[in-house]
Symmetry: C2
Subunit: 188 residues, 2 copies
Amino acid sequence: MTTGKPLRADAQRKRDALLAAARKVFDAGEFFDLRFDDFAPLAGVGTGTLYRHFPTREALAEAVYHGEVAALCDRAHQLQGTLPPAEALAAFLRDMVDHIAAHQGLARTLATLMADRSSALAEGSQALEQAVTGLVTAAARDGAIRDDVDPGAIMMALHGIGAAHDRPHWRTEADDVITLVLDGLRQA
Amino acid sequence: MTTGKPLRADAQRKRDALLAAARKVFDAGEFFDLRFDDFAPLAGVGTGTLYRHFPTREALAEAVYHGEVAALCDRAHQLQGTLPPAEALAAFLRDMVDHIAAHQGLARTLATLMADRSSALAEGSQALEQAVTGLVTAAARDGAIRDDVDPGAIMMALHGIGAAHDRPHWRTEADDVITLVLDGLRQA
DNA sequence: ATCGATGTGGAGGCCATCTCCATTTTCGAC
DNA sequence: GTCGAAAATGGAGATGGCCTCCACATCGAT
């Protein structure tokens, strides 16, 4: 991440306020009903300030997304340190579904924006992908799962879970996808 | 689909022209670089005509999408009639990846639009989902695959494949996802 | 050939997005 | 503490894409 310049005290405050407001609006799923300009006063700033900090909707989404990804990566490392490789992977994937389920609105918003400018957010996903790759290769080296499957395939499956946010039986289907992936991975 | 009124001869011609042009632009991946207004002359019609036939970008996408879905459903039925259930399912999923690979731009465009207004296109996907469900339940009844997994889970995985269009190793990963799903389905 | 019904097209209104700069705030130096 | 340069602010207004509207053209039944 570009921590190029230390940012003045007030600027940092405004930036934080924007991110907090964004998180709230995202979670409520109201992001698309809102003119981008109208979002600024919600965080107590002017439109100019909003645009300087986040030139586009996507930039704002990416910033929020980074927080999410960081939390998930922490979880991955934590699990990797306390469970056998295969169980760590399984637990992580299950937790991920839980996490998405607990933040429906956020996931929905991020998925939509991700589709629009996937290149921008794909960059943000790198950390997550590295975490998943770490879990997969550890389990494979351990011999607990096959080693002829690209970890990226699991990212794809997760992508599908996140993107299909509005299916009626989302939770059941998401769990089943994880089951299929995990059982598929157990094949020699 | 609403074939409510027979549509006058010239109207049908313009409509076809629009669809043909749309298909071309979609496939070239230029749909989002284009003002919707500028799209009309590309098909040799005025903006008014464009908007009457397709009130929104999404409506146009949905129309194109219907054609794709119909082709895939035909393929599903064809396979279901000529192969044992489990093989039909496997062949269909592999074919689907082929199909998407062969129409990258189209898939990319549709995936993006699907995320924006997924409700609109979810309706269009119903036929596809029914085809998949048919293949899955047939294979399950045959005892060739487990029966405790919701067919919707396979739709989710496919959704992931379609949505992750711009990953560097897309083809490899897509194939691996299908492998995981198929192997996962073979578990009792 | 006539005429009512149906379809056409593009000029113009509307409104969300983004820019620009006069004013205000911060903070290091003295 | 206070001064001044640099940084940040915010909202008025320009920009430009989306969509509507209706005078005119085309169709096709009689």
